[in-house]
């Protein structure tokens, strides 16, 4: 297909292309030069940033907002009554449409006084660091679509993840580690697997790299059998000669260049990543606040601690996942909100709060955005007696650090928590605001794909706009 034809078929015409060239000429687009040589070279953002890295604590499964963050006394009052509005259901079991009050009490926490549930006492203790968005909403009621949406901006798999965009935009401050790192439960993937850190059509270097928190941090980081450093060096030198010569026959294959670069990155990673899991340098107190001394919190706690260490060493984006056992979607409380939430909160509450405290204590919170969020929320009506089904119309997201307004509650839901009603924030709005704090304009961070200047937020379709009220002044 000719370029002309492609543009015609794509329905965009020359406008988009011209815009891109124009933007580049005016210096508005990100510099493309030199990128092929090293796609992870650190790059300046569009404007002076408030934050330089992001930790996404991806609480998959759909944490129940009305049991954790969004108190609904009305629910308690009308418990067992039939809700007048027919709610959108995902599974069976909610047909009776009976309102279900929260089994948990809510308390005012911190000096800001934001209300939080008793089941997350530790997150409550860092309330003054949190910007709580109670008016989030999303587009799909199934986990995979919801998670893909939260991580990539659309419900369909195939687009680059938020972390890939950040890696693409800003590169890596630390040239010895990938810019985008994923810390999942070594027990397995959740149902969406690697979809949540895919690079989509961005170059492959921007795909999230999984770092294991058990065993070696990266597979094959060290040779299976020890090899003398000078021998390895000579080997890499010979390899570089052979590859450079081979590359000369294919001067425009950027993949070959990436491969050559990768060997250099690999060598640097061997030095640096090896130390990542060495927790000896962490004090006993630190290990304790993350809950490493308790089998219930140790797994997720270790990942939170690793996240801090990675951010400390310059990694741009770290995505942390909760435990996959006994449930692949740990926040998915379909049958009993009380027991299911008590179980998952026991594992996730303390380490999440510890991460925020620890970053704060080390002066890193200012420049690190910590997001705590699920992919959607849950219904005000009961399912299977005491559970709740999925709800895309309202959920709560917590953000700490990175210039977000601390101790602030944004937006609200209706009286039973079914819908976000006031100051609604869409997932693309949230993405736009996150990029903004990283010094990036979501409409100007583009990647040419199929004749279109693609963006994370695709604001011409999603109307994404940053939410200034979330940002501290």
């Amino acid at each position: 297909m000719s370029r002309r034809e492609m543009l015609r078929v794509s329905g965009l015409g020359f406008g988009a292309l011209a815009w891109q060239s124009l933007a580049a000429a005016e210096g508005k687009g990100l510099p493309q030069e030199g990128r092929a040589a090293n796609p992870l070279i650190p790059r300046p953002p569009h404007r002076s940033p408030k934050a330089r890295s992001v930790i996404l604590l991806m609480q998959n499964g759909g944490p129940s907002q009305m049991d954790l963050f969004d108190p609904k006394p009305e629910l308690k009052k009308r418990e067992g009554q039939t809700y007048a509005e027919k709610v959108e259901k995902f599974q069976k079991g909610s047909e009776a449409n009976k309102l279900l009050g929260s089994p948990f009490a809510f308390h005012h926490r911190g000096s800001c006084g934001m209300e939080m549930s008793e089941v997350i006492p530790c997150l409550g203790s860092v309330a003054d660091e949190l910007c709580m968005i109670r008016s989030m909403y999303t587009e799909h009621n199934n986990h995979t679509e919801g998670l893909v949406m939260f991580n990539t901006g659309k419900i369909f798999p195939g687009r680059p993840a938020l972390g890939s965009w950040v890696s693409y935009a800003l590169g890596s401050v630390n040239q010895n580690l990938p810019a985008y790192i994923v810390l999942r439960d070594p027990e397995g993937y959740n149902t969406s697997g690697t979809l949540l850190w895919q690079n989509g059509w961005l170059p492959a270097q921007h795909r999230g790299t999984e770092i294991n928190t058990r065993g070696a941090p990266l597979w094959n980081l060290q040779p299976a059998h020890p090899i003398a450093p000078e021998a390895r060096e000579a080997q890499l030198e010979l390899l570089a000669r052979l590859n450079t010569k081979h590359r000369a026959n294919h001067p425009r294959e950027s993949e070959l260049e990436a491969r050559i670069q990768n060997y250099e990155l690999a060598a640097r990673m061997q030095l640096e990543a090896g130390e990542l899991l060495d927790l000896q340098r962490e004090s006993a107190d630190t290990r304790k606040i993350y809950g490493l001394d308790n089998p219930v919190t140790a797994g997720y706690g270790l990942r939170c601690l690793m996240a801090r260490r990675l951010v400390e060493s310059g990694v741009r984006f770290v995505q942390v996942f909760p435990p996959v056992k006994p449930q692949f979607q740990p926040w998915d409380s379909h049958s009993n909100v009380k027991t299911e939430l008590e179980r998952i909160c026991a594992a996730c509450d303390q380490p999440s709060a510890a991460l925020i405290q620890d970053l704060k204590a080390r002066g890193l919170l200012e420049e690190t955005i910590v997001i705590w969020s699920g992919e959607f929320g849950r219904l005000p009506v009961s399912q299977n007696g005491s559970g709740r089904d999925h709800n895309r119309n309202a959920f709560t997201t917590l953000i700490a650090g990175g210039g977000f307004r601390a101790g602030h509650v944004h937006g609200s839901t209706d009286e039973v928590g079914y819908r976000s009603v006031e100051k609604r924030v869409s997932v693309p709005d949230l993405h736009a605001t996150l990029l903004n704090q990283l010094g990036l304009d979501h409409d100007r961070l583009t990647f040419a794909h199929h004749g279109r200047g693609e963006t994370l937020t695709d604001s011409s379709v999603t109307h994404a706009q940053r939410v200034p009220e979330l940002i501290s002044t």
């Binding site: 297909m1 000719s2 370029r3 078929v9 329905g11 015409g13 406008g15 959108e88 599974q91 069976k92 990938p178 070594p186 027990e187 397995g188 993937y189 149902t191 697997g193 270097q205 795909r207 790299t209 058990r214 065993g215 070696a216 597979w219 094959n220 980081l221 040779p223 299976a224 090899i227 021998a231 000579a234 080997q235 010979l238 390899l239 052979l242 590859n243 010569k245 081979h246 590359r247 026959n249 294919h250 425009r252 294959e253 993949e255 070959l256 990436a258 491969r259 050559i260 990768n262 060997y263 990155l265 690999a266 692949f328 009603v421 609604r424 869409s426 199929h450 011409s460 379709v461 109307h463």
Partner: protein, 857 residues
Amino acid sequence: MASTVFWEIGLRGRVQYSIYNNCTRRKGTVEDFFSHFQIPIRGSRVRGNALTAPSRSSVSIRIITLTKSSLGSCGPFKGGSPRLRRFLPCSGCLTLVVATLLWNSAVGAEPVHGVHWGFKPLVSPPVPSTRDLRWPATPVDRFVLARLEAAGLQPAARADRRKLIRRASFDLTGLPPTPEDIQRGLDDPSPDWFERLVDRLLESEHFGERWGRHWLDWSGYVDVIGGDNDAGTVKLGEGKWRYRDYVIRAFNRDMPFDEFITQQLAGDETVDWRNASEFSPDIINRLTATTFLRHVADDTDENELNTADIRHGVWQRTAELVANNLLALTLHCAKCHDHKYDPISQRDYYRFAAHFAPAFNPERWLQPKDRNLPDISTTEKKAADQFNQEIDAAVARLEKRRAELEAPARSRSIEEKLAQLPVEIRADLKSALQTPSEKRSEVQKYLADKFEKSVLPTPEQIRAALAETARAEVAVAEEEILQLNHSKKRWGMLQAVYDVGLPSPTRILQRGNHLNPGDEVSAGFLTALCGPSSTGDKLLGTDPGAPWVGATSGRRLRLARWLCDGASPASGLMARVMVNRMWQQLLGVGLVETSDNFGVAGSRPSHPELLEWLASQFIQSGWRIKPMLRLIMTSATYLQSSAALDSPAADRAYEVDPDNRLLWKQRLRRLDAEVIRDSLLAVADLLDPAIGGPAMPIEYRPDGMMVLKGREGASPRLPSRRSVYVLARRNYPLSFLATFDQPIMAMNCARRTPSAVVSQSLTMLNDAFVEEQSAALALRVDQATAHASPAEKITKVFQWALSRPPAPDEASWCERFLSGQTSPVAADEPAKSMVRRQALTSLCQTLFNSSEFLYIE
């Protein structure tokens, strides 16, 4: 509440848009509206409240008046956010969506008649003429060259012989050529040496492993049954691997594709296996073929997941997978509503899915374990069961006799042991042990739990206590039992698909929800693929009835006939899809880049006429795959060099066609994951070439890596089989293969996306497997060139690993490397030779890491 939408298509191609309805609160622009729904406005641009049409379309005024009731409950847009409601004040929203879809189908990417290219009947176009008459070797080349000439580009030079031999070998067998293969090709003086090479490779039994693997990707093959979400648990479909072998055999035999498809969709409906007195190899083959329909994740073996919605999901995804694999359609989009882009209605979806409903009937569901079909006939099974029952009876008699013989010694031994216990519990314990375990009281259970082990004698103790004659008789009985058990009849399992009882009515499920069934539909085909004059229903009505065999609905066989009849648009689409995938494997990217989507939202073919021509050839040549591969591979297009040196011609080509869609050179292609692993084994001479059989098991290591079972700590020189025989898990592939982009089989994979991430470099540098192969190649080189100079050894390494001798500069780099590695000379000879071997190993590994090793040039 009625809404009226006016679309006025003016003379100058300008479209005026206006909406009238009872509600006038609408705010926001038209663009807002369309973009919110992500509805592409094809061939036009939206400005403010007007659409600008692409060209001088025919003049027409379209007025659509729709009411909510006429739209049914297409509820996805109900409710919604305030932002949505801002411009969707009432049911007019639905009207707008429908109107837009009508608009799109009226204007379409191809104006006027609007039939999507992929859905048109296949018409073989004339082969174009070209200015250059010498370059084209086949008609394929004239299609390619015509486009190149029109763009003012020139094809690249032909690749050299070594590279062509290597390329052809990888492409057809997935294995590198041996130095002998290279020499044979170099020495062949005949002008058709390459054609003959291709023929030889097509006849290799490794051909089926390579192309079978492609088919397994496209059809979503896995060895497991369920969703495979737990790394530590493997739920195997017993005997599922036989389908993999079936595929390999089919490719090796060049089974015509129409037959291949018919067997896979409906092999069970082409033989009366239910009444066969015995299962012939042909019957087993045809039943095995239907495993094709068993790749979708089916978790209903867990009782809590054996629910109506999951059953429906298995059935529906099976239909979706078939449509995606064979027709490259995104059928799943039409499950809940009419397809947004393609002319596939929701009704079409359920009619198509109805073909699979008798086999996957949610109302007569078979759990995976109950779908297992013995690979012997009912008669044979009955006889075998009878035989085995007799054996069991004989064994029982012998066991009884043995027990009788042992009884005195046994009770004596128990008495002795009881005597050692406190007197108070002896009687109670004895009676507890004499009571069958399920009838014991709580106290008896406690006693038995606590003392049973110490009181009951072991077989050895009983034997020792036996009298001489009794002991001999027991030994004879035991030997007999062993032999009898050994003589029992055994059989394997097939993961076949077959109709389960009479079909239930299939209904359109509103919003895809099985709790909300709508109109009943009969099994039928996709309307858009039934030609201009017939709908799927009509076609079915006029179908004289396919001659299916046995107690089955014949629906799947009819579907296969429709797909394979050679004349229907469906046949045309299936042929296009298949030749496109062949092209994709041989030239890196399909003529249609989105080889998994031939719908409107997919990409358009780079060479539409070539695609039509190839697809027609495919059908005309009797759906045979090997001749098609031969045709493509012997084209000058395929034979081009993949290199593109800096030159004005290359600069211009990159300028005009940076993605090489016009094929002004061959593409540089990274080896597939399996080919990398197999090549390492082959070069190291550790490849076990055995074809077929049960899969090599893999296991989950504590560090999260999936590795081959039983290789850890085994001799490094343990040969291994080809990667196609590694157990295929849905979510947990062998880590080595996953690193090189072997796909996760959530559904299927029409094209792989090779990456170049750092974990690949780390694997090639540090993984024990690569280390082993490097050491093995070094040993092989040392053995082949016992007293040779380092230069000769280096040449050997290059020849094995890269199919060529080193260039002078490379040779000198390598020599310097070897001497550097061995320089602090060890004292004694064994130590010296170990150091030399280590250096050579290191050199071998370096070549394995080189880009040249990893790419098909």
